[in-house]
């Protein structure tokens, strides 16, 4: 039938046998997501439609995570506004401080997204759930409003780029390095309007947390979504976290791709994105002497348990450089507890790092680690745009948790091999 995995999921949700690139469709939604920044705008738009109820109170998730716990009065007012909306509409998935986490780590963990779903979120990193074999994509607040009212969204069927992954990543090289490498290769608009479909033997060597990290940053290549096939690793995760029914879609053998890129995972090196675009990448051996003031480990890209474990492995028995502030953000309450129970917090604290409650925090220059003029941070987050973490003249370097931890110790960007 010549359809890619993404096209098949969208066809099914639009009740169509076949779809082709460029076609405009209306698809049924399995989940509609918003956060404390995008939901207030969506609620105002929702009210203009004039419907009394949301289409399905189980299929809406609202996660106040960006400026939460509320950083100032205005943020508190925004959350109060959406809390009242959620209450009034009896939205079942509103996550208050104490239960919340960063939305894209939280939704899969709570079992709210599963294989074969179509999900929209008023947050660009909604593409993260492609790791589970779902079609998920970021939209704006108006789409969220109309999704909440109608349970549908319009889409233009995307073409796809096929990424065939072979072999296995080397020691200290993670999913983050792979996705930074890919963005460096194809550019921040290299997959504009397209799907990034990952296939190949190498996939079974990537953990689910690595896959979340990779799918998360598809948007940084301009993609509509990033998606992985469903295998035993996916099913194990889904069965552990969700009771929702799932459906496994596979690309047709004769599916048409706009391009195929073959990647030998064993050749990928630790990679860092220099300011001010994620595609401005250099391998670790070409970084030079970049002194840092702050190291941030967390976010929807790298705040999962594997990231915490990998950072702890580097910090064990070592100290954060005296001129560096290192802040660690486990992405959800569950990850927090797990990291604590595994003794990772002892390692972090003994090393001189601070541990925060789950929040987006400095990732978007919100709070909890803002940079002053001229300061530099290495960060496991996903964007290094001008002013992203604070002052317009500050700088963000994107890297993996392993590199961010090693850099925190060295006081400059570097690898664990230098310790």
């Amino acid at each position: 039938m010549k359809m890619t995995m993404t096209q098949k999921i969208l066809a099914k949700h639009a009740n169509l046998e076949f779809v082709k690139p460029g076609q405009l469709i209306m698809a049924d939604l399995d989940m509609v997501l918003g956060n404390d920044i995008t939901t207030p705008v969506a609620v105002k738009e929702f009210r203009k439609i004039g419907v009394e109820k949301v289409f399905d109170k189980e299929k809406i998730a609202i996660v106040p995570d960006h400026f939460c716990p509320n950083k100032d009065i205005k943020s508190a007012e925004q959350v109060k506004f959406i809390r009242e909306f959620a209450k009034g509409m009896e939205v079942s998935n509103f996550f208050e401080v104490g239960q919340m986490g960063i939305e894209h780590a939280l939704l899969p963990e709570k079992g709210l997204v599963t294989a074969g779903d179509v999900v929209i979120g008023a947050d660009s990193h909604t593409c993260t759930y492609g790791a589970l074999g779902a079609f998920s994509t970021g939209v704006g607040s108006t789409d969220m409003a109309s999704g909440m009212a109608t349970g549908k969204a319009w889409f233009k069927i995307p073409e796809a780029i096929k990424f065939t992954l072979n072999n296995k990543l080397s020691k200290n090289v993670s999913g983050k390095d792979l996705i930074l490498h890919i963005i460096g290769m194809i550019g921040v608009d290299g997959a504009l309007y397209k799907s990034m479909e990952f296939v190949g033997e190498g996939i079974k060597t990537l953990s689910i947390d690595d896959r979340f990290t990779i799918a998360n940053m598809a948007i940084e290549a301009g993609a509509k979504n990033g998606i992985f096939p469903v295998d035993d690793i996916t099913l194990e995760y889904i069965k552990e976290h969700s009771t929702k029914p799932y459906e496994v879609f596979e690309a047709d053998e004769d599916a048409i791709y706009s391009k195929e890129i073959i990647i030998d995972l064993s050749k990928i090196k630790m990679t860092v994105s220099f300011p001010h675009l994620p595609d401005n990448t250099r391998t670790i051996d070409k970084v030079g002497n970049i002194k840092i003031d702050q190291s941030v480990i967390g976010s929807c890209t790298n705040g999962r348990i594997q990231d915490m474990r990998e950072a702890a492995e580097v910090f064990k028995g070592r100290k954060v450089h005296p001129e560096v502030r290192c802040i660690i953000f486990p992405a959800t309450q569950k990850i927090w507890k797990q990291a604590m129970n595994e003794g990772l917090f002892d390692i972090f604290i003994d090393a001189g790092a601070a541990i925060s409650t789950p929040t987006c925090g400095p990732c978007l220059g919100g709070h909890m680690g803002i940079l002053a003029k001229g300061e530099r941070a290495v960060s496991t987050t996903n964007r290094n745009f001008v002013g992203r973490m604070g002052h317009p003249e500050s700088e963000v370097y994107l890297a993996s948790p392993i590199v961010a931890a090693a850099s925190a110790i060295l006081g400059r960007i570097g690898s664990p091999d230098e310790l």
Partner: protein, 163 residues
Amino acid sequence: MKAHGKVIKYGNNVDTDVIIPARYLNTSDPAELASHCMEDIDSEFVNKVNKGDVMVALNNFGCGSSREHAPIAIKESGISCVIANTFARIFYRNAVNIGLPILECEQAAKEINEGDQVTVDFDSGIIINETQNKQYTAQPFPPFMQEIMKSEGLIGYIKKNMK
């Protein structure tokens, strides 16, 4: 629908963090957002923009976050239309959904300069550069999106179709 105005021009990969920095996202008030529009790359923007002006940029305009605050801030600041070679996809759909006219045209994006006077016809996709005496044709919107635009955005469109 037509727009006429002076051009304010930017380069490649204008991201939503510079269109409206996250530090101002603790509000969704359009006027307040507009007062900080573009401030991290062009602190003069809010002083020089006049109602009806046209924003022109190169590749991947609006990349980054899904914040609808970005097209809202641009629209509220008085910009009547954005022309670029390409748009980032979430920005593209947000602009359509809130009724901010945008057009993709490589030639126009390249050749139009800051300060040029232009007229844009959204139905035909014709862009006239009066200063340089040149004309370009952009791909007009597909009918479905024209419908949304005519309803002043997705909410208007849904209201019409739910009745």
